[in-house]
Subunit: 361 residues, 2 copies
């Protein structure tokens, strides 16, 4: 009922019998305050329950202590793992994170980005599908912006990415060695940089003897579920999904249709989200160093804060994780297996990463 006026710095100053400047110094850990005065101030602040007003601090300091993160889809656990790495670093440096999702509507990204920048000290664009023009407009504001999972040539946009191209080659190589030739790719959002890289690699996979097909899909479980029928029409012995949640959807549809995985059709995803190891069968996937990606993004941002420019793009290395959803192609099943079933059944949802199959750029 009683609308108590908030406790401000001057209240504390009053209570401690000092000036606001002194209170400010104490709260910010300035060394130039007499110990007992500082103690008196701290005592008063604690007693009154003083919490500095963030807006006022932001205005006076010229920085908010927040950064913005824009991502396409809050429902994909992939992004939480990136956020986890990013937030861990940011919090350690006293920063908070303001998140917004474009819900896979590339046209909305521009205004969301501006809105985030308006309230923060810098921005991380994660797997952005923003049209190039909008992107350069965002950069024109001259504020610190870092891109994750997208490289853009010709724009001064520091980026940290994972070598999606190499990742796709690794899966294709793995499948080829298992005797697969007919491979169908459930494609991701058309404007996704990772998707484009994967597609590029896919078309090169004919060098492995693979005959790739593509089916339009998307990035959600439902997309995967729905695209699976079309994929099966191509009569593939293996399906590669744009990401793990798409693979999840596909897996569900395959089960429903009574298609045995991996005996009839193998399936692989990308990212290695936590659910992948718990899928049935456990999902073969290309691990993406998600937390690292987030950490690197933060470090880049801090370098921008310090005024550094022209930062080199960072490229992280993905890693093929072979689990139970991929196996020999049906035609090849009579020939000796490259990898016995005993090796795959052992232990808990295994996260084995055969060094020989790890990829690099």
């Amino acid at each position: 009922m009683t609308r108590t006026r908030a406790v401000t710095i001057s209240r504390v100053a009053e209570a401690a019998g000092v000036s606001v400047a002194t209170v400010s110094r104490v709260m910010n850990g300035s060394a130039t305050v007499a110990p007992q005065l500082a103690e008196r101030v701290r005592e008063a602040a604690a007693r009154l329950g003083y919490r500095p007003n963030a807006s006022a601090q932001g205005l006076a300091r010229g920085r908010t202590g927040m950064i913005g993160v824009l991502l396409p889809d809050l429902a994909n656990p992939y992004f939480h793992e990136v956020m986890k790495g990013l937030t861990a670093e940011a919090v350690a440096d006293g920063y908070h994170t303001l998140v917004a999702a474009s819900d896979e509507v590339p046209e909305d990204e521009g205004s969301l980005a501006h809105e985030l920048l308006r309230q923060t000290d810098g921005l991380v664009l994660c797997s952005s599908r923003m049209p190039r023009h909008d992107l350069s407009e965002v950069l024109d504001a001259g504020r610190p912006v870092v891109s994750v999972n997208r490289q853009v040539s010709g724009l001064a946009l520091p980026a940290v990415t994972v070598d999606s191209h190499a990742g796709m080659l690794a899966v294709c190589g793995h499948l080829a060695r298992q005797g697969h030739r007919q491979v169908t790719y459930l494609s991701g959002p058309p404007l996704s940089w990772s998707h484009r890289e994967r597609r590029r690699a896919l078309s090169e996979s004919s060098a492995f003897g693979i005959d790739p097909q593509t089916v339009d899909c998307g990035s959600t479980m439902d997309d995967g579920y729905r695209a699976t029928d079309a994929a099966l029409e191509r009569r593939p012995t293996a399906i590669i999904a744009f990401n793990d949640i798409v693979a999840f959807g596909a897996l569900a549809r395959l089960r429903e249709r009574g298609v045995a995985v991996p005996d009839e059709v193998s399936i692989a995803g990308f990212d290695d989200i936590a659910f992948a190891a718990y899928a049935s069968p456990a999902l073969t996937t290309v691990r993406n160093p998600k937390e690292q990606l987030g950490r690197h993004a933060w470090r880049m941002l801090t370098r921008l804060f310090k005024g550094e420019r022209g930062l080199e793009p960072q490229v992280l290395v993905p890693e093929l994780v072979v689990r139970d959803s991929t196996g020999p192609a049906p035609a090849a099943i009579a020939t000796p297996r490259l990898q016995g079933p005993s090796a795959r059944a052992a232990g808990r949802p295994s996260v084995r990463s055969p060094r020989g199959e790890a990829t690099s750029s």
Copy 2:
């Protein structure tokens, strides 16, 4: 390189040849500005790329346009769905969301809550495990706070919850009708309100002829995976998991140990996250109206903003969703099934919710 000074309101005023007050009026849609003047201002603002400084607005207006959300675990998709509902409403009202996670460390919640409140206009505590004392300290700040998934008697804390007690009774009833007696519950975080409600209902389930056991578990997939061996030692015919991701972990372990689901052991979860329908077998669960929960939370918060007090708690109704992970108890398998397998195999990962099994408070 060139650190351009930010475009401020006075820059725009200058450029448009008007006072800052007029610019402010135009930007905030005040009707009392001559149309052509307004146009001139808008043009100047657009040309200069003016974006109001959020800190300055926050300070002048006495509100930030942000609300805080505190939740225990960013890795659980459950919370994203709650966030989705919450954010949708908040954004529609011009608000943004600042999220923090306690990572299941109840002792950290207090300071996180204060930190969020410091930067926002109100706070949503989601599935809070905060010790009561810390909670009342947070409320003492006199700022708008709403609780989701937790009711606290004796504190003026408006809450919107789901009837977890009824949800648990619904699962137990379902299992009892399938002939289950030996049921093991993989318990949630000890301080979770939902967990406590479920546990209370569980102990009442002996009325259905159920003999409940409890195994300490937690709230993550890994917790579920690890607790499953201990659960099996109780020789249950059915396992109830604290939530769906715990059930996912348990499912993986059961598969590994060659325990057939649901033929040997049935398993059910809570929440009905998106992954549940795609699990193998598709997971029987108690659906939680996640988005609604978020929407209600926002509405409560807005009522607090308007100065309303003493808001009645809102209790939403969960709904049992029977899928393929539960079936007749092994001993009862010889007797006629209550629900034939044909009914469960049909269609896509089915989200059937037999009205007769829907629960209410």
